[in-house]
């Protein structure tokens, strides 16, 4: 890792290597936990509890894939994304990136890691410094990592990046307010790409954009992912967008992954009733299809993550819950069709066909 500090950004050859090693594990996350303490008192701050934002997440991210993280607000998907990049320090658990443990490394070593892993933020307005030109925003990673030290060299690199993401390279002297929301998100993408990272975490990258602009940015991310062999962690609440973008999808509920599968598995035959309910709740822009499906409405809201329910955390809202669900936490294991899910009473094909518009069951 440390020798990467001195050599030039990834060359075409290293990109090819990335392609060649498709399927190999890039990230290995085990029992990741993040608790935010709740304190009371002014002088003597006592901890009175904790928000269990992420509560035991294990997953592998393969090189070159797009992994979707979905769930309702407060399910821990953004916290997981930030933990992956060590923007937050985990309470416990292990994160291995290319075999190296990064959950405990020191800030100096983090700099090297951050060259390989970058982030795209949700809000293209607050994530760009309004006082800096677009050129210096996109070039900032080069400054931090002491790359492209020649003045003309850095400018050329920035203009190449702008060209890659579909911005006019002549606009590098403009300020963020001179750009529209979609263009600003492109600036964010260019900044994330500057160091030629292996992994990008995109946290709701299009939810702040208008519908017609969303498609432009989604297409850009897809093309870049394909051309550069990037690994993408795509965090979103919009199940339609996730379906369009991701190879594999993990569904989170109250800090845990409750179901994980390939795109086809998860949308074709969700097994966890929560996944089924999420999919059933998506409004479909097709009145005819909508009329043929039964809408599964979940009662109530997500319980508080300070005091998550016992057993299966979803039992308070689940229509299939029985006594065992309150007492015993279900194993996260393979169900019919290959989906990994944590559920005592997974959905049957008939239940899926009745409720889920994307169902592919016999």
């Amino acid at each position: 890792m440390s020798d990467r500090m001195t050599d030039a950004p990834a060359t075409d050859a290293s990109r090819e290597r990335a392609h060649a090693s498709d399927g190999e594990t890039l990230f290995e996350v085990r029992d990741l936990v993040k608790h935010f303490p709740l304190t009371s008192g002014i002088l003597f701050r006592r901890q009175i509890g904790a928000v269990h934002a992420v509560d035991g997440v294990s997953l592998d991210i393969k090189r070159g894939e797009t992994l979707g993280l979905v769930g309702e607000s407060g399910c821990g998907k953004s916290t997981t994304g930030r933990l992956l990049l060590r923007l937050l320090d985990p309470t416990s658990g292990s994160i291995k990136f290319e075999g190296q443990e990064i959950s405990q490394i020191k800030p100096k070593e983090l700099i090297a890691f951050r060259r390989d892993a970058q982030m795209i933020f949700q809000d293209p307005y607050s994530s760009l410094n309004p006082r800096k030109t677009v050129g210096s925003i996109i070039g900032e990673p080069f400054v931090i990592h002491k790359l492209m030290t020649g003045d003309g060299e850095r400018r050329r690199a920035v203009q190449d990046l702008m060209d890659t993401v579909g911005l006019n390279p002549e606009h590098f002297n403009r300020y963020p307010h001179e750009f529209s929301g979609g263009q600003r998100q492109r600036i964010g993408v260019a900044r994330a790409l500057a160091l030629k990272p292996k992994l990008i975490v995109a946290d709701e990258p299009v939810s702040a954009l208008d519908v017609s602009i969303q498609a432009q940015v989604l297409n850009l991310l897809r093309d870049l992912q394909r051309d550069l062999g990037l690994t993408l962690v795509f965090i979103a609440h919009d199940l339609s967008v996730v379906r369009h973008m991701c190879d594999r999808v993990a569904v989170m509920y109250l800090g845990k992954i409750v179901e994980l599968g390939t795109n086809e598995q998860l949308y074709g035959h969700p097994r966890m009733p929560y996944t089924g309910a999420l999919m059933s709740a998506v409004p479909i822009a097709d009145p005819k299809l909508a009329a043929t499906k039964k809408r599964q409405i979940l009662a109530g809201d997500v319980p508080s993550p300070t005091n998550p329910p016992s057993g299966c955390r979803f039992h308070t809202r689940c229509w299939k819950a029985q006594d065992i669900c309150k007492q015993q936490e279900p194993e996260f294991e393979a169900k019919e069709g290959g989906n990994l899910a944590a559920c005592h009473f997974p959905l049957t094909d008939a239940e899926v066909a009745e409720r889920v518009p994307t169902a592919r069951v016999n």
């Binding site: 519908v211 919009d238 409004p283 822009a285 809408r295």
Partner: protein, 354 residues
């Protein structure tokens, strides 16, 4: 057709600013029939919210210029006095906003706010108004309404707050309800709860609804009729089934092509609309969609299209200068999955052959 509840005619709302005249709404006409739901869809800045705020009399200010007619209950709401407008607002026409947290006063109990809404329009005792509030909270599905009526807004979750807003809007049994992106701030599961609630209440109370949203999925669930707005004008209007089955305007095609459809296969590419919405200060000449339209012709840059019936069907109107035969041809191509350039080339080739 029976008398419409709301009839908007050639509504224009312009704002004077230092940069120039912002034509937020520029000649909009529509009717909302009794018990029907009109869905207004469009991107930000298309004028969908401003047109509805004007119906509520909420855009009157020194720097706004409003013209046209808004006929409701035999009055033109644009000419009634401020006091008369206050009587109508919250009583005969009610509104639900996007963000339920900023629409409720954080210092007052839910019950007090509901009681105020009742007593502003009816001479009833506080106790009677409170009973009515509890009844409404029960109707919108808030558990234990008798206890919850004494709660403050921060004690409610987002979905529950939106239910309180709906209760407040419906407490005086309005004839017309304007819902401005009521579920945009909510999670998809909660959104499903709120949409179901609105459909149920509409059936029970027979209220007409104007439903403003940018989400084509939501409008497909809720609306009877759909108006598609672009740059301050309605560019297409029709029954929900018509808009989704045989849309006629290139902008509607663009919207339908650019959303990631939940039920379409993953490899189907998204077809974005090129460019971005125009500035409302300097609207493009001719058809205001022409700079982004893949099928634009030279004449469209100078001639303004009018909202005209499609093949004589008054229920489906479109503002597009393309010949209706050409539009049908293009839509057929797009439906087969062809890209806009290919559809355009097909039409051009056919015309060349004639």
């Amino acid at each position: 057709m029976t008398e419409p509840v709301l009839s908007v005619r050639d509504l224009k709302v312009h704002f004077k600013t230092d940069d120039g005249l912002v034509k937020a709404v520029d000649g909009v006409s529509y009717d909302v029939g009794a018990g029907r739901t009109l869905g207004i869809v469009g991107e930000s800045g298309s004028g969908k919210s401003v047109s509805s705020l004007t119906v509520m009399g909420l855009t009157r200010s020194r720097n706004s210029e409003i013209s046209g007619e808004v006929i409701f209950g035999g009055h033109d709401l644009l000419t009634v006095s401020k006091d008369e407008m206050r009587d109508i607002r919250g009583n005969e026409i009610a509104m639900i906003f996007q963000d339920p947290l900023s629409s409720l006063h954080p210092f007052y109990r839910i019950g007090d706010q509901l009681v105020e809404a009742v007593r502003a329009h009816n001479k009833v005792s506080k106790a009677a108004a409170l009973d009515k509030s509890v009844e409404l909270l029960r109707l919108v599905g808030i558990p234990e309404p008798k206890d919850r009526v004494g709660g403050y807004p921060h004690e409610f979750s987002g979905g529950m707050r939106q239910r309180v807003m709906i209760a407040m809007a419906l407490i005086n049994e309005p004839k017309l309800l304007i819902a401005d992106e009521p579920t945009t701030a909510l999670d998809v599961t909660v959104q499903a709860q709120i949409l179901e609630l609105m459909l149920r209440l509409k059936g029970e109370l027979d209220t007409s609804i104007v439903f403003i949203t940018h989400d084509l999925g939501v409008v497909a669930e809720m609306a009877d009729d759909i108006a598609v707005m672009y740059a301050g004008r309605i560019v297409e209007f029709g029954a929900k089934e018509t808009i989704f089955e045989s849309p006629q305007h290139p902008y509607t095609w663009g919207l339908l092509g650019s959303i990631a459809k939940f039920d379409s296969p993953r490899d189907e590419p998204l077809v974005p609309i090129l460019g971005r919405p125009p500035s409302l200060i300097n609207l493009p000449s001719g058809c205001s969609f022409h700079p982004r339209c893949p099928y634009v012709r030279e004449a469209h840059k100078t001639v303004e299209p009018a909202l005209e019936p499609v093949n004589g069907d008054a229920g489906h109107r479109v503002a597009c200068l393309l010949d209706s035969g050409v539009r049908e041809r293009i839509w057929e191509d797009l439906r087969e999955g062809k890209r806009p350039e290919e559809a355009r080339a097909d039409v051009m080739a056919e015309e060349g052959a004639l």
